[in-house]
Assembly symmetry: C2
Homo-oligomer: 173 residues x 2
């Protein structure tokens, strides 16, 4: 079965963006394993806000992540861009169906709301966190409103000269 992998950059205090939505603290000077990661996946899960952020970035000339099938999770949107698929309503059934389909693994790109929903439903198989050497102090926490304790198994760590630490865990499901 295809795995759902939460792959995001976080600060040491577990924020995915600063209090003004800023992500200028995210390192862009090198690949940090992204190329290898992209070989594992062919699909992306995005929450509404993250999807809208990628639209803004695309409008500003950032072409985003090519060749990934996108699923947008939103109960408020009525349509999404061409080629993408809107998921609303019963997330659990829909995600389980997608995970059963043939294909590579699935990149859960965020945001926090979708991450919480999928973690609470036990639908996330792996965490791949790029822990940046910074305390943002405030902002949007990656992990919020998680109902129950989730035990993890560390499967990989990579330390980069810039101080970024990549931590990979599988979830005990």
């Amino acid at each position: 079965m295809r795995k759902v992998i939460l792959g995001v950059a976080i600060s040491l205090d577990s924020f995915i963006e600063g209090s003004k939505g800023e992500y200028d603290w995210c390192f862009t000077d090198q690949d940090y394993g992204l190329s290898d990661f992209l070989k594992r996946v062919d699909t992306m899960f995005l929450g509404r806000k993250t999807y809208e952020l990628t639209l803004t970035m695309a409008a500003n000339g950032d072409s985003g992540f090519p060749n990934l099938k996108e699923y947008i999770f939103s109960n408020t949107l009525n349509k999404v861009k061409e080629g993408a698929t809107l998921i609303k309503g019963d997330i659990k059934t829909e995600v389980e169906k997608i995970k059963e389909e043939k294909g590579k693994d699935i990149w859960l790109f965020g945001g926090a709301g979708l991450t919480t929903s999928l973690l609470n439903l036990g639908l996330v198989d792996e965490l791949s966190l790029a822990v940046h050497p910074v305390l943002l102090g405030s902002g949007k926490p990656l992990f919020s409103n998680i109902k129950d304790r989730i035990n993890l198994t560390l499967v990989d760590t990579k330390t980069f000269s810039t101080g970024l630490v990549s931590l990979t865990y599988t979830l005990e499901t």
Copy 2:
């Protein structure tokens, strides 16, 4: 000058205790570098709640950490146990004075309130975090109410077979 080192166990979602005050998730099966750490320090900083927790533990037969000079930070306590020193009022002046004194480094053991105060005053020199492979979901966050972004320099990482990752950072002060 003596360094103030924040040395604590945290969950991957940056909690130092669960929502019911529980710390049963903290690994105790091996040393995890504590013996080496204790050689570096001769003094401990504790907030009131953490101090009271250590008193309860001592009453239950846990002898705690011997041979460390203890400073208890509290504006509500009027006295502390024999041998310990109560700090109230102008934390900055008091801590700067202690850091100027001869001696080994100082273990900032917590809790969250004292940690926040000392981080915001720029009085913490190093973070040594034992990141446990668990998402607690809720509880007491280690980092809260930090005013400004704090850049860190990663100086050491250690990965243990149990999945605990020890991360050490210095603060850019």
